[in-house]
Protein backbone atom coordinates (compact mmCIF):
# COMPACT_ATOMS: atom_id res chain seq x y z
CA UNK A 1 0.00 0.00 0.00
CA UNK A 2 1.52 3.32 -1.06
CA UNK A 3 2.50 5.60 1.75
CA UNK A 4 1.65 9.30 2.09
CA UNK A 5 5.18 10.39 1.17
CA UNK A 6 4.89 8.46 -2.07
CA UNK A 7 1.77 10.40 -3.10
CA UNK A 8 3.43 13.68 -2.18
CA UNK A 9 6.37 12.84 -4.44
CA UNK A 10 4.08 11.92 -7.31
CA UNK A 11 2.16 15.17 -6.96
CA UNK A 12 5.36 17.20 -6.86
CA UNK A 13 6.78 15.54 -9.98
CA UNK A 14 3.50 16.07 -11.81
CA UNK A 15 3.57 19.75 -10.93
CA UNK A 16 7.19 19.96 -12.07
CA UNK A 17 6.36 18.29 -15.36
CA UNK A 18 3.53 20.74 -16.04
CA UNK A 19 5.70 23.71 -15.20
CA UNK A 20 8.51 22.39 -17.40
CA UNK A 21 6.06 21.88 -20.30
CA UNK A 22 4.80 25.42 -19.93
CA UNK A 23 8.35 26.74 -19.86
CA UNK A 24 9.20 24.88 -23.08
CA UNK A 25 6.05 26.23 -24.77
CA UNK A 26 6.95 29.82 -23.82
CA UNK A 27 10.64 29.54 -24.66
CA UNK A 28 10.36 27.62 -27.92
CA UNK A 29 10.08 30.51 -30.41
CA UNK A 30 13.03 32.37 -28.86
CA UNK A 31 15.26 29.31 -28.88
CA UNK A 32 15.04 28.42 -32.55
CA UNK A 33 18.64 29.50 -33.11
CA UNK A 34 20.92 26.48 -33.28
CA UNK A 35 24.57 25.72 -33.66
CA UNK A 36 25.25 22.29 -35.03
CA UNK A 37 28.79 20.96 -34.92
CA UNK A 38 30.10 18.66 -37.65
CA UNK A 39 33.37 17.27 -36.41
CA UNK A 40 35.85 14.87 -37.99
CA UNK A 41 36.95 11.61 -36.33
CA UNK A 42 37.58 12.18 -32.63
CA UNK A 43 40.74 10.04 -32.36
CA UNK A 44 44.13 9.45 -33.90
CA UNK A 45 45.70 12.90 -33.88
CA UNK A 46 49.42 13.53 -33.64
CA UNK A 47 51.15 16.75 -32.84
CA UNK A 48 51.09 19.19 -35.74
CA UNK A 49 47.84 17.78 -37.15
CA UNK A 50 45.18 20.12 -38.45
CA UNK A 51 41.61 19.63 -37.23
CA UNK A 52 38.80 21.36 -39.08
CA UNK A 53 35.48 21.76 -37.30
CA UNK A 54 32.43 22.77 -39.25
CA UNK A 55 29.58 24.50 -37.47
CA UNK A 56 26.20 25.14 -39.08
CA UNK A 57 24.59 28.18 -37.46
CA UNK A 58 20.88 28.85 -37.95
CA UNK A 59 19.53 32.10 -36.48
CA UNK A 60 16.04 33.37 -35.72
CA UNK A 61 14.48 35.55 -38.42
CA UNK A 62 15.89 39.06 -38.26
CA UNK A 63 19.04 38.11 -36.41
CA UNK A 64 22.43 38.58 -37.93
CA UNK A 65 25.78 37.21 -36.80
CA UNK A 66 28.16 39.88 -35.53
CA UNK A 67 31.31 39.62 -37.64
CA UNK A 68 33.30 41.06 -34.75
CA UNK A 69 32.37 38.14 -32.52
CA UNK A 70 34.19 35.67 -34.77
CA UNK A 71 37.44 34.39 -33.32
CA UNK A 72 40.59 35.69 -34.93
CA UNK A 73 43.36 33.26 -35.93
CA UNK A 74 45.54 33.06 -32.81
CA UNK A 75 47.00 30.62 -30.31
CA UNK A 76 44.00 29.44 -28.30
CA UNK A 77 45.99 27.63 -25.63
CA UNK A 78 49.68 26.85 -25.34
CA UNK A 79 49.19 23.70 -27.40
CA UNK A 80 46.41 24.76 -29.77
CA UNK A 81 46.48 27.29 -32.62
CA UNK A 82 43.44 28.56 -34.43
CA UNK A 83 44.68 28.77 -38.01
CA UNK A 84 41.61 30.23 -39.64
CA UNK A 85 37.93 30.93 -39.07
CA UNK A 86 35.93 31.22 -42.28
CA UNK A 87 32.32 32.27 -42.20
CA UNK A 88 30.13 31.64 -45.24
CA UNK A 89 26.57 32.83 -45.40
CA UNK A 90 24.19 30.21 -46.77
CA UNK A 91 20.88 31.00 -48.48
CA UNK A 92 18.32 32.01 -45.83
CA UNK A 93 15.28 29.80 -45.11
CA UNK A 94 12.02 31.65 -44.25
CA UNK A 95 14.01 34.81 -43.46
CA UNK A 96 16.27 33.01 -41.00
CA UNK A 97 19.94 33.52 -41.75
CA UNK A 98 22.14 30.45 -41.94
CA UNK A 99 25.90 30.32 -41.80
CA UNK A 100 28.65 27.82 -42.16
CA UNK A 101 31.62 28.42 -39.89
CA UNK A 102 34.83 26.54 -40.65
CA UNK A 103 37.28 26.53 -37.75
CA UNK A 104 40.70 25.16 -38.57
CA UNK A 105 42.84 24.28 -35.56
CA UNK A 106 46.35 22.85 -35.28
CA UNK A 107 47.32 20.84 -32.23
CA UNK A 108 50.87 20.88 -30.88
CA UNK A 109 50.24 18.65 -27.91
CA UNK A 110 52.86 15.94 -27.54
CA UNK A 111 51.18 13.34 -25.30
CA UNK A 112 53.22 10.59 -23.66
CA UNK A 113 50.24 8.27 -23.97
CA UNK A 114 46.93 8.55 -25.76
CA UNK A 115 44.96 11.23 -24.02
CA UNK A 116 41.75 13.20 -24.47
CA UNK A 117 42.02 16.91 -25.22
CA UNK A 118 39.38 19.62 -25.44
CA UNK A 119 39.00 22.25 -28.07
CA UNK A 120 37.19 24.97 -26.10
CA UNK A 121 33.78 26.33 -27.03
CA UNK A 122 33.70 29.37 -29.30
CA UNK A 123 31.24 32.11 -28.29
CA UNK A 124 29.32 33.88 -31.06
CA UNK A 125 27.03 36.88 -30.89
CA UNK A 126 23.99 37.47 -33.06
CA UNK A 127 22.11 40.73 -33.07
CA UNK A 128 18.74 42.04 -34.21
CA UNK A 129 18.73 45.75 -33.48
CA UNK A 130 19.05 45.93 -29.69
CA UNK A 131 18.32 42.29 -29.11
CA UNK A 132 21.45 40.27 -28.51
CA UNK A 133 21.62 36.52 -28.74
CA UNK A 134 24.60 34.67 -27.37
CA UNK A 135 25.42 31.39 -29.04
CA UNK A 136 28.38 29.14 -28.83
CA UNK A 137 30.02 26.48 -30.92
CA UNK A 138 30.26 23.59 -28.44
CA UNK A 139 33.58 22.37 -27.20
CA UNK A 140 34.93 19.19 -28.76
CA UNK A 141 36.95 16.39 -27.31
CA UNK A 142 39.41 14.29 -29.23
CA UNK A 143 42.09 11.72 -28.47
CA UNK A 144 45.69 12.73 -29.17
CA UNK A 145 48.21 9.95 -29.70
CA UNK A 146 51.95 9.89 -29.06
CA UNK A 147 54.28 9.67 -32.02
CA UNK A 148 57.03 7.62 -30.37
CA UNK A 149 57.16 4.96 -27.72
CA UNK A 150 57.63 6.17 -24.17
CA UNK A 151 60.48 3.85 -23.31
CA UNK A 152 63.29 3.55 -25.80
CA UNK A 153 63.73 -0.04 -26.81
CA UNK A 154 66.52 -1.81 -28.63
CA UNK A 155 69.83 -0.33 -29.67
CA UNK A 156 68.35 2.67 -31.48
CA UNK A 157 69.33 6.04 -30.04
CA UNK A 158 66.09 7.68 -28.84
CA UNK A 159 67.64 11.10 -29.38
CA UNK A 160 68.47 10.48 -33.05
CA UNK A 161 66.94 13.29 -35.09
CA UNK A 162 65.38 12.95 -38.48
CA UNK A 163 67.80 14.23 -41.12
CA UNK A 164 67.98 17.77 -42.51
CA UNK A 165 66.37 18.83 -45.75
CA UNK A 166 69.42 19.31 -47.93
CA UNK A 167 69.40 22.44 -50.10
CA UNK A 168 68.79 21.49 -53.71
CA UNK A 169 69.84 23.29 -56.89
CA UNK A 170 67.29 24.93 -59.17
CA UNK A 171 65.45 22.28 -61.18
CA UNK A 172 66.22 22.99 -64.83
CA UNK A 173 64.41 20.10 -66.48
CA UNK A 174 61.01 21.83 -66.68
CA UNK A 175 62.57 24.87 -68.32
CA UNK A 176 64.53 22.73 -70.77
CA UNK A 177 61.30 20.97 -71.70
CA UNK A 178 59.70 24.37 -72.29
CA UNK A 179 62.67 25.32 -74.49
CA UNK A 180 62.09 22.18 -76.56
CA UNK A 181 58.41 23.07 -76.87
CA UNK A 182 59.08 26.65 -77.90
CA UNK A 183 61.70 25.49 -80.41
CA UNK A 184 59.25 23.00 -81.92
CA UNK A 185 56.53 25.64 -82.22
CA UNK A 186 58.99 28.14 -83.72
CA UNK A 187 60.35 25.65 -86.26
CA UNK A 188 56.87 24.49 -87.26
CA UNK A 189 55.81 28.11 -87.75
CA UNK A 190 58.90 28.86 -89.83
CA UNK A 191 58.17 25.77 -91.96
CA UNK A 192 54.58 26.96 -92.43
CA UNK A 193 55.76 30.42 -93.39
CA UNK A 194 58.30 28.95 -95.83
CA UNK A 195 55.57 26.91 -97.53
CA UNK A 196 53.13 29.81 -97.54
CA UNK A 197 55.63 32.36 -98.83
CA UNK A 198 57.51 29.95 -101.10
CA UNK A 199 60.90 30.39 -99.46
CA UNK A 200 63.90 28.40 -100.63
CA UNK A 201 63.06 24.88 -101.78
CA UNK A 202 59.35 25.52 -101.25
CA UNK A 203 59.36 28.06 -104.09
CA UNK A 204 58.90 25.12 -106.45
CA UNK A 205 55.70 24.11 -104.71
CA UNK A 206 54.10 27.39 -105.55
CA UNK A 207 51.93 27.46 -108.68
CA UNK A 208 54.12 28.81 -111.51
CA UNK A 209 51.96 31.74 -112.68
CA UNK A 210 51.28 32.96 -109.17
CA UNK A 211 55.03 33.04 -108.48
CA UNK A 212 55.69 34.65 -111.87
CA UNK A 213 53.08 37.40 -111.27
CA UNK A 214 54.79 38.27 -108.03
CA UNK A 215 58.27 38.30 -109.54
CA UNK A 216 57.20 40.27 -112.60
CA UNK A 217 55.65 42.98 -110.48
CA UNK A 218 58.98 43.28 -108.67
CA UNK A 219 61.01 43.23 -111.90
CA UNK A 220 58.86 45.85 -113.60
CA UNK A 221 59.19 48.24 -110.68
CA UNK A 222 62.19 49.66 -112.60
CA UNK A 223 60.77 50.55 -116.05
CA UNK A 224 63.56 49.76 -118.52
CA UNK A 225 64.00 47.65 -121.63
CA UNK A 226 66.29 45.30 -119.78
CA UNK A 227 63.73 44.77 -117.00
CA UNK A 228 61.07 44.17 -119.61
CA UNK A 229 63.09 41.38 -121.27
CA UNK A 230 63.68 39.86 -117.87
CA UNK A 231 59.97 39.95 -117.16
CA UNK A 232 59.25 38.27 -120.48
CA UNK A 233 61.73 35.54 -119.68
CA UNK A 234 60.20 35.06 -116.26
CA UNK A 235 56.76 34.48 -117.76
CA UNK A 236 58.32 32.07 -120.29
CA UNK A 237 59.76 30.06 -117.38
CA UNK A 238 56.29 30.02 -115.80
CA UNK A 239 54.82 28.61 -119.04
CA UNK A 240 57.60 26.03 -119.14
CA UNK A 241 56.87 25.03 -115.55
CA UNK A 242 53.14 24.80 -116.18
CA UNK A 243 53.61 22.71 -119.33
CA UNK A 244 56.33 20.57 -117.86
CA UNK A 245 58.62 21.22 -120.84
CA UNK A 246 59.97 24.16 -122.84
CA UNK A 247 56.87 25.83 -124.38
CA UNK A 248 57.01 27.62 -127.75
CA UNK A 249 54.31 29.58 -129.55
CA UNK A 250 53.45 26.55 -131.72
CA UNK A 251 52.84 24.35 -128.69
CA UNK A 252 50.26 26.68 -127.16
CA UNK A 253 47.13 25.01 -128.61
CA UNK A 254 48.29 21.60 -127.40
CA UNK A 255 49.12 23.10 -124.00
CA UNK A 256 45.70 24.76 -123.74
CA UNK A 257 44.02 21.47 -124.57
CA UNK A 258 45.69 20.03 -121.47
CA UNK A 259 44.81 23.04 -119.31
CA UNK A 260 41.25 24.08 -120.23
CA UNK A 261 41.02 26.51 -117.31
CA UNK A 262 43.62 28.72 -119.02
CA UNK A 263 41.74 28.74 -122.35
CA UNK A 264 40.05 32.09 -121.63
CA UNK A 265 43.47 33.74 -121.92
CA UNK A 266 44.32 32.14 -125.30
CA UNK A 267 44.26 35.39 -127.34
CA UNK A 268 46.41 37.38 -125.01
CA UNK A 269 48.81 34.46 -124.71
CA UNK A 270 49.31 34.54 -128.46
CA UNK A 271 49.90 38.25 -128.12
CA UNK A 272 52.57 37.59 -125.51
CA UNK A 273 54.41 35.07 -127.67
CA UNK A 274 54.36 37.57 -130.48
CA UNK A 275 55.85 40.33 -128.33
CA UNK A 276 58.46 37.93 -127.04
CA UNK A 277 59.49 37.03 -130.58
CA UNK A 278 59.95 40.72 -131.40
CA UNK A 279 61.98 41.29 -128.26
CA UNK A 280 64.39 38.39 -128.60
CA UNK A 281 64.46 37.64 -132.32
CA UNK A 282 63.21 40.90 -133.88
CA UNK A 283 63.63 44.62 -133.37
CA UNK A 284 64.38 44.38 -129.66
CA UNK A 285 62.74 45.01 -126.34
CA UNK A 286 61.79 48.64 -127.03
CA UNK A 287 59.70 47.62 -130.02
CA UNK A 288 58.15 44.80 -128.08
CA UNK A 289 57.15 47.22 -125.32
CA UNK A 290 55.06 49.03 -127.90
CA UNK A 291 53.46 45.77 -129.00
CA UNK A 292 52.68 44.74 -125.44
CA UNK A 293 53.04 47.33 -122.69
CA UNK A 294 54.65 46.34 -119.35
CA UNK A 295 51.26 46.92 -117.69
CA UNK A 296 49.61 44.52 -120.12
CA UNK A 297 52.32 41.95 -119.41
CA UNK A 298 51.78 42.25 -115.67
CA UNK A 299 48.02 42.02 -116.02
CA UNK A 300 48.41 38.87 -118.16
CA UNK A 301 50.58 37.29 -115.49
CA UNK A 302 48.00 38.15 -112.85
CA UNK A 303 45.07 36.85 -114.84
CA UNK A 304 46.93 33.62 -115.50
CA UNK A 305 47.62 33.33 -111.78
CA UNK A 306 43.93 33.79 -110.99
CA UNK A 307 42.87 31.29 -113.67
CA UNK A 308 45.42 28.81 -112.42
CA UNK A 309 44.14 29.19 -108.83
CA UNK A 310 40.56 28.60 -109.95
CA UNK A 311 41.71 25.57 -111.91
CA UNK A 312 43.45 24.19 -108.82
CA UNK A 313 40.38 24.77 -106.69
CA UNK A 314 38.02 22.91 -109.01
CA UNK A 315 39.45 19.38 -108.73
CA UNK A 316 39.33 19.73 -104.96
CA UNK A 317 35.72 20.89 -104.98
CA UNK A 318 34.52 18.32 -107.52
CA UNK A 319 34.80 15.08 -105.45
CA UNK A 320 32.88 16.59 -102.53
CA UNK A 321 30.07 17.49 -104.90
CA UNK A 322 29.96 13.98 -106.24
CA UNK A 323 29.84 12.62 -102.71
CA UNK A 324 26.95 14.92 -101.92
CA UNK A 325 24.89 13.63 -104.82
CA UNK A 326 25.79 9.99 -104.31
Amino acid sequence: MPSRTFWRTVRRSLLQAILLGAAICVAAPARAATVELFAPRPFGYFLGDVITLEAAVTLDPGFKLEPGSLPRPRPVTYWLDLRSADLTELPAVHGARRYRLLLSYQTFYAPLETRGLDIPAVPLTARDGDQVLNLSVPSWNFAASPLRSLVAGGAANPMALQPDIAPLPHPLRADLRRVAGATAVGLASILGLAILRGWGPFGRLRPPFSAAARDIRRILAAPSAEAYSKALLRLHRAFDAAAGHRLFADDVPAFLAGCPHLATEADIMAHFFHASRIAFFGKGADAAMVEMTPDALLSLARRLAVAERKGAARPVAAPTQREATA
Binding site: F46, L47, G48, D49, V50, R74, P75, V76, T77, Y78, W79, D81, R83, Q106, F108, A110, L112, P146, L147, R148, P158, M159, L161, Q162, P163, D164, I165, A166, P167, L168, P169, H170, L172, D175, L176, R178, V179, A182, T183, V185, G186, S189, I190, G192, L193, I195, L196, R197, L205, R206, P207, S210, R309, A312, A313, V316
Partner: protein, 197 residues
Protein backbone atom coordinates in the same frame (compact mmCIF):
# COMPACT_ATOMS: atom_id res chain seq x y z
CA UNK B 1 51.59 17.50 -102.05
CA UNK B 2 48.03 18.24 -102.84
CA UNK B 3 47.41 20.10 -99.59
CA UNK B 4 50.00 22.67 -100.55
CA UNK B 5 48.09 23.43 -103.73
CA UNK B 6 44.95 23.64 -101.67
CA UNK B 7 46.68 26.09 -99.32
CA UNK B 8 47.55 28.19 -102.35
CA UNK B 9 44.04 28.18 -103.64
CA UNK B 10 42.56 29.70 -100.48
CA UNK B 11 41.38 33.25 -100.68
CA UNK B 12 43.69 36.16 -100.12
CA UNK B 13 42.53 37.38 -96.68
CA UNK B 14 42.70 33.89 -95.22
CA UNK B 15 46.20 33.41 -96.54
CA UNK B 16 47.18 36.79 -95.18
CA UNK B 17 45.72 35.82 -91.80
CA UNK B 18 47.59 32.50 -91.78
CA UNK B 19 50.75 34.32 -92.74
CA UNK B 20 50.33 36.85 -89.91
CA UNK B 21 49.51 34.13 -87.38
CA UNK B 22 52.58 32.12 -88.30
CA UNK B 23 54.80 35.20 -88.18
CA UNK B 24 53.41 36.08 -84.75
CA UNK B 25 54.03 32.53 -83.57
CA UNK B 26 57.64 32.71 -84.74
CA UNK B 27 58.18 36.01 -82.92
CA UNK B 28 56.46 34.71 -79.77
CA UNK B 29 58.51 31.50 -79.81
CA UNK B 30 61.69 33.55 -80.15
CA UNK B 31 60.65 35.74 -77.24
CA UNK B 32 59.85 32.74 -75.04
CA UNK B 33 63.15 31.14 -76.00
CA UNK B 34 65.07 34.31 -75.09
CA UNK B 35 63.32 34.56 -71.70
CA UNK B 36 63.83 30.86 -70.96
CA UNK B 37 67.45 31.05 -72.02
CA UNK B 38 68.05 33.97 -69.69
CA UNK B 39 66.38 32.14 -66.80
CA UNK B 40 68.21 28.89 -67.42
CA UNK B 41 71.51 30.74 -67.59
CA UNK B 42 70.76 32.58 -64.36
CA UNK B 43 69.70 29.41 -62.58
CA UNK B 44 72.72 27.49 -63.85
CA UNK B 45 74.96 30.23 -62.43
CA UNK B 46 73.20 30.03 -59.06
CA UNK B 47 73.40 26.24 -59.15
CA UNK B 48 77.19 26.53 -59.40
CA UNK B 49 77.21 28.59 -56.19
CA UNK B 50 74.89 26.08 -54.49
CA UNK B 51 77.17 23.22 -55.57
CA UNK B 52 80.23 25.09 -54.28
CA UNK B 53 78.55 25.61 -50.88
CA UNK B 54 77.56 21.95 -50.78
CA UNK B 55 81.19 21.01 -51.43
CA UNK B 56 82.18 23.09 -48.42
CA UNK B 57 83.63 26.20 -50.01
CA UNK B 58 82.82 29.37 -48.05
CA UNK B 59 81.15 31.36 -50.85
CA UNK B 60 79.56 34.58 -49.61
CA UNK B 61 75.90 35.13 -50.52
CA UNK B 62 74.15 38.51 -50.21
CA UNK B 63 70.99 38.57 -48.13
CA UNK B 64 69.04 39.76 -51.17
CA UNK B 65 69.86 36.62 -53.19
CA UNK B 66 67.31 34.09 -54.44
CA UNK B 67 65.65 31.94 -51.72
CA UNK B 68 67.33 28.76 -52.93
CA UNK B 69 70.73 30.39 -52.63
CA UNK B 70 69.86 31.70 -49.16
CA UNK B 71 68.93 28.19 -48.05
CA UNK B 72 72.19 26.76 -49.41
CA UNK B 73 74.20 29.41 -47.56
CA UNK B 74 72.18 29.03 -44.35
CA UNK B 75 72.64 25.26 -44.44
CA UNK B 76 76.37 25.70 -44.99
CA UNK B 77 76.53 27.90 -41.87
CA UNK B 78 74.30 25.62 -39.75
CA UNK B 79 76.32 22.53 -40.51
CA UNK B 80 79.40 24.42 -39.35
CA UNK B 81 77.72 25.46 -36.09
CA UNK B 82 77.57 29.14 -37.09
CA UNK B 83 73.93 29.36 -36.05
CA UNK B 84 73.87 33.09 -35.29
CA UNK B 85 75.14 33.82 -38.80
CA UNK B 86 72.53 31.52 -40.32
CA UNK B 87 69.63 33.14 -38.42
CA UNK B 88 69.20 36.24 -40.68
CA UNK B 89 69.06 34.02 -43.77
CA UNK B 90 66.42 31.83 -42.17
CA UNK B 91 64.41 34.89 -41.08
CA UNK B 92 64.47 36.14 -44.62
CA UNK B 93 63.38 32.77 -45.99
CA UNK B 94 60.59 32.53 -43.42
CA UNK B 95 59.19 35.78 -44.77
CA UNK B 96 59.55 34.70 -48.42
CA UNK B 97 56.50 33.26 -50.14
CA UNK B 98 58.19 30.00 -51.13
CA UNK B 99 56.73 27.77 -48.40
CA UNK B 100 58.82 24.74 -49.27
CA UNK B 101 62.12 26.56 -48.82
CA UNK B 102 60.91 28.41 -45.72
CA UNK B 103 59.94 25.08 -44.13
CA UNK B 104 63.33 23.58 -45.01
CA UNK B 105 65.20 26.54 -43.53
CA UNK B 106 63.19 26.62 -40.29
CA UNK B 107 63.44 22.86 -39.88
CA UNK B 108 67.16 22.67 -40.60
CA UNK B 109 67.96 25.46 -38.16
CA UNK B 110 65.80 23.83 -35.48
CA UNK B 111 67.62 20.55 -36.13
CA UNK B 112 70.98 22.26 -35.74
CA UNK B 113 69.86 23.86 -32.46
CA UNK B 114 68.41 20.65 -31.05
CA UNK B 115 71.51 18.68 -32.02
CA UNK B 116 73.68 21.21 -30.23
CA UNK B 117 71.38 21.15 -27.19
CA UNK B 118 71.59 17.36 -27.05
CA UNK B 119 75.38 17.49 -27.20
CA UNK B 120 75.31 19.99 -24.30
CA UNK B 121 73.04 17.67 -22.35
CA UNK B 122 75.33 14.72 -22.97
CA UNK B 123 78.05 16.70 -21.20
CA UNK B 124 75.46 17.56 -18.47
CA UNK B 125 75.52 21.26 -19.31
CA UNK B 126 71.87 22.00 -18.64
CA UNK B 127 71.78 25.80 -18.70
CA UNK B 128 73.02 26.44 -22.27
CA UNK B 129 70.77 23.63 -23.55
CA UNK B 130 67.45 25.08 -22.34
CA UNK B 131 67.22 28.14 -24.63
CA UNK B 132 68.42 26.06 -27.56
CA UNK B 133 65.63 23.51 -27.08
CA UNK B 134 63.05 26.30 -26.72
CA UNK B 135 64.21 27.92 -29.98
CA UNK B 136 64.26 24.56 -31.72
CA UNK B 137 60.68 23.90 -30.62
CA UNK B 138 59.60 27.29 -31.92
CA UNK B 139 61.37 26.51 -35.21
CA UNK B 140 59.69 23.14 -35.65
CA UNK B 141 56.35 24.67 -34.78
CA UNK B 142 56.84 27.45 -37.35
CA UNK B 143 57.72 24.81 -39.95
CA UNK B 144 54.62 22.77 -39.06
CA UNK B 145 52.38 25.82 -39.25
CA UNK B 146 53.55 26.23 -42.84
CA UNK B 147 53.40 22.52 -43.67
CA UNK B 148 51.18 20.51 -41.27
CA UNK B 149 52.01 17.25 -43.04
CA UNK B 150 55.77 17.41 -42.46
CA UNK B 151 56.43 14.21 -40.48
CA UNK B 152 60.13 14.69 -39.83
CA UNK B 153 59.40 17.99 -38.09
CA UNK B 154 56.69 16.30 -36.01
CA UNK B 155 59.10 13.59 -34.96
CA UNK B 156 61.90 15.96 -34.01
CA UNK B 157 59.47 18.29 -32.24
CA UNK B 158 58.35 15.30 -30.21
CA UNK B 159 61.97 14.68 -29.18
CA UNK B 160 62.35 18.34 -28.19
CA UNK B 161 59.03 18.24 -26.30
CA UNK B 162 60.25 15.32 -24.20
CA UNK B 163 63.38 17.25 -23.27
CA UNK B 164 61.43 20.30 -22.10
CA UNK B 165 57.67 20.11 -21.96
CA UNK B 166 55.45 23.12 -22.57
CA UNK B 167 54.09 24.74 -19.45
CA UNK B 168 50.43 25.64 -19.49
CA UNK B 169 50.52 28.32 -16.76
CA UNK B 170 52.92 30.75 -18.38
CA UNK B 171 51.22 30.63 -21.72
CA UNK B 172 47.78 30.86 -20.16
CA UNK B 173 48.64 34.28 -18.70
CA UNK B 174 49.76 35.56 -22.08
CA UNK B 175 46.51 34.32 -23.54
CA UNK B 176 44.47 36.21 -20.93
CA UNK B 177 46.41 39.39 -21.62
CA UNK B 178 45.66 39.14 -25.28
CA UNK B 179 41.97 38.97 -24.60
CA UNK B 180 41.94 41.91 -22.25
CA UNK B 181 43.95 44.25 -24.41
CA UNK B 182 41.05 45.55 -26.51
CA UNK B 183 39.05 46.47 -23.43
CA UNK B 184 41.94 48.45 -21.98
CA UNK B 185 42.41 50.27 -25.26
CA UNK B 186 38.92 51.69 -24.99
CA UNK B 187 39.15 52.85 -21.38
CA UNK B 188 42.46 54.56 -22.17
CA UNK B 189 40.90 56.67 -24.89
CA UNK B 190 41.32 60.36 -24.13
CA UNK B 191 38.39 62.78 -24.12
CA UNK B 192 36.07 60.69 -21.97
CA UNK B 193 34.41 62.71 -19.18
CA UNK B 194 35.74 61.49 -15.85
CA UNK B 195 33.14 63.06 -13.56
CA UNK B 196 34.93 66.33 -12.88
CA UNK B 197 32.76 69.14 -11.48
Amino acid sequence: MKWVARAWSTKWPIRRLADLTLATLVVAALGVLAALGARIGWHAMENRTIAALAEGRDVPVPETAAPRLLLARAHFLMVRDRLDEAQPFVDRLARADQTELAVAALYDLANARLARAISHLEQTQIDPAIPLVRLAKAGYRAALVRDPGFWDAKYNLDIAMRLIRDFPQIEQEEHDDAQETPKRLWTDLPGLPRGLP
